[in-house]
C-alpha cells in the first residue's frame, strides 16, 4: 500500500480483455478500444456476457461482473464456434 489505482485498473482491463476474447469471441485486435467505457466492441461483449451469465446488463465493469470473471469455470467458450 498505497494501492496503485491505475495499475489495478489496468489489471482488471487485462482480465476483461482475456475473458471476453476467450469466452465471447471478442476479436483479439480490439485492444485499442479498451479505454473507451461507454461504447465499442468491449462494452457490447460485456453486455453479452452479463446477459448470458444472468447478471444485470450494464455494459460496465461493475463488482458483480468482475466477481463472476474470477469464479472457477469451464474453459469451453460461451458463444461462437
Amino acid at each position: 500500500y498505497p494501492v496503485d489505482r491505475a495499475a489495478e485498473d489496468e489489471d482488471s482491463m487485462e482480465l476483461v480483455q482475456q475473458y471476453l476474447e476467450r469466452y465471447y469471441n471478442l476479436a483479439k485486435d480490439t485492444k485499442a478500444f479498451v479505454r473507451r467505457r461507454d461504447g465499442g466492441p468491449v462494452v457490447d461483449k460485456l453486455r453479452e456476457m452479463q446477459k448470458f451469465l444472468g447478471l444485470e446488463v450494464t455494459g460496465k465493469l461493475d463488482s458483480d461482473t468482475l466477481d463472476m470473471m474470477h469464479k472457477p469455470r469451464c474453459g469451453v467458450p460461451d458463444v461462437g464456434d
Binding site: K71, P72, R73, C74, G75, V76, D78, G80, D81
Partner: protein, 378 residues
C-alpha cells in the same frame, strides 16, 4: 440450452470411454466412480449407454493435465479454468480434459470431480453452455451444489434429448402404455404423511414405488409420477410385494413375495418363475424378504430380513459366506426393520414406515433423513 454450432452428435447409442490417466488428488476408484456417476446422469434420460475400456481408442478419452497439454488450449494453474471438453467426433473430439492444478475432491472442500465431470461430459455429448443458472451446463462452477443431490435440470434434459431423444423404447414396452389409475377411494394418496411402501426398485432409469396393488413410477422426464396397477404391466405378478431390486447389468427386476420371487425384463415376465427364495441360499428359517438393494458397482445384492442382512454375489449367483450379519453393525444408523430400499447415485435409501434414510455406503453413515414420499414431489 444450446448445442455446438453445426449440432455435432454421436451417430450411435453405445459409446466407449477411457480414463487415460489419474489425478493424485483422489484414489483411482473414486475417479472411476465419479466419471461413471457423471455418465449415468446423461444415460438415464437418453438412449445412450456407456462402457469403459482400459486400452486403445475410445469415443470419450478423459485425462488430467496441467498448463500446455498438447491441444493448443493450455490450462491456467489453480482456479479459473477447471476443465474443457470437445464436441462429438473422432480423435480428440469427444474428449474431456481436467486441470490437474485444481484440488480434486469427492466432496466440495476442493473442486468436486463429479460435478465438473458431469458438465464436461455434457460437452462430449454435444451440449454447449446454457444461460440457465440452474442448468448443469451453465459455465460457472457452483461450489454450493450438493453433489449428492445433483440432478439434471429440465433445461439439460431438453438439451440432450434434442440431440438423442428419450431413453430407447424397447420392444418389451407395451405398444400402448397402460393408463395411469385415476385416484379413487381405495387408492393410496402419494402425499399422505403416513404412506409407507411395500417395495421399491429402479427400472431403466426410473424408480418404482410399490404399494398394495399399485405402484408409482418416478421418471426424470416427467415432473408428476405416474400411478398404475401392477397387473397392468405384469399380470402374473402378485400384489402386496415384500421386496424388489433391479440387476442393472442384466436389465432384470426381481420381485419378492413370501418365500417366492419372480423376474421381469421390461414388462416381460421371465420363464421358470416364481422360484423359491431358498434357491438363493437362504436358510429354511427365512420365510420372506423385507427389502433388497443391488449395488451396481460391486454387482452384489443386499437382502434385509428383520435385523439381519445377507449379501448375494450376482456374478457367481451365490450367497456370500459369513452372512447373515447384523444390519446395525454394517449400516450404522439404519433401523433394524427395513420395509423397502433401493440404490441411486451411489447412495442407499432405506425406508421404514413413512420415513427414509439416505445412507452413504462409502462413508458408512446416514447422510440425510427424509420423508418417505419425498421422491413423489411431496
Amino acid at each position: 440450452f444450446a448445442t455446438f454450432p453445426g449440432m455435432p452428435k454421436w451417430r450411435k447409442t453405445h459409446l466407449t470411454y477411457r480414463v487415460m490417466n489419474y489425478t493424485l488428488d483422489l484414489p483411482r476408484d473414486a475417479v472411476d466412480s465419479a466419471i461413471e456417476k457423471a455418465l449415468s446422469l446423461w444415460e438415464e434420460v437418453t438412449p445412450l449407454t456407456f462402457s469403459r475400456t482400459d486400452e486403445g481408442e475410445a469415443d470419450i478419452k478423459i485425462l488430467f493435465a496441467v498448463r500446455d497439454h498438447g491441444d493448443f488450449i493450455p490450462f491456467d494453474g489453480p482456479g479459473k479454468v477447471l476443465g474443457h471438453a470437445y464436441p462429438p467426433g473422432p480423435g480428440i473430439y469427444g474428449d474431456a480434459h481436467f486441470d490437474d492444478d485444481e484440488q480434486w475432491t469427492r466432496d466440495t472442500s476442493g473442486t468436486n470431480l463429479f460435478l465438473v465431470a458431469a458438465h464436461e461430459l455434457g460437452h462430449s455429448l454435444g451440449l454447449f453452455h446454457s444461460a440457465d443458472p440452474r442448468a448443469l451446463m451453465y459455465p460457472v462452477y457452483n461450489a454450493h451444489t450438493d453433489p449428492a443431490r445433483l440432478r439434471l435440470s429440465q433445461d439439460d434434459v431438453a438439451g440432450i434429448q434434442s440431440l438423442y431423444g428419450s431413453p430407447s423404447v424397447s420392444p418389451d414396452d407395451p405398444a400402448v402404455p397402460p393408463e395411469p389409475v385415476p385416484p379413487g377411494p381405495e387408492t393410496p394418496a402419494a402425499c399422505d404423511p403416513s404412506l409407507s411402501f411395500d417395495a421399491i426398485s429402479t427400472l431403466r432409469g426410473e424408480i418404482l414405488f410399490f404399494k398394495d396393488r399399485h405402484f408409482w413410477r418416478k421418471s426424470l422426464r416427467t415432473l408428476e409420477p405416474g400411478f398404475y396397477l401392477i397387473s397392468s404391466f405384469w399380470p402374473s405378478l402378485p400384489s402386496g410385494l415384500d421386496a424388489a431390486y433391479e440387476d442393472t447389468s442384466k436389465d432384470i427386476v426381481f420381485v419378492f413375495k413370501g418365500n417366492q420371487f419372480w423376474a421381469v425384463k421390461g414388462t416381460e415376465a421371465q420363464a421358470g418363475y416364481p422360484k423359491s427364495i431358498h434357491t438363493l441360499g437362504f436358510p429354511s428359517t427365512v420365510r420372506k424378504i423385507d427389502a433388497a438393494i443391488f449395488d451396481k458397482e460391486k454387482k452384489k445384492t443386499y437382502f434385509f430380513v428383520g435385523d439381519k442382512y445377507w449379501r448375494f454375489d450376482e456374478r457367481r449367483r451365490s450367497m456370500e459366506p459369513g452372512f447373515p450379519r447384523e444390519i446395525a453393525e454394517d449400516f450404522p444408523g439404519v433401523d433394524p426393520k427395513v420395509d423397502a430400499a433401493f440404490e441411486a447415485f451411489g447412495f442407499y435409501y432405506f425406508f421404514n414406515g413413512s420415513s427414509q434414510l439416505e445412507f452413504d455406503p462409502n462413508a458408512r453413515k446416514v447422510t440425510h433423513s427424509l420423508k418417505g414420499n419425498s421422491w413423489l414431489n411431496c
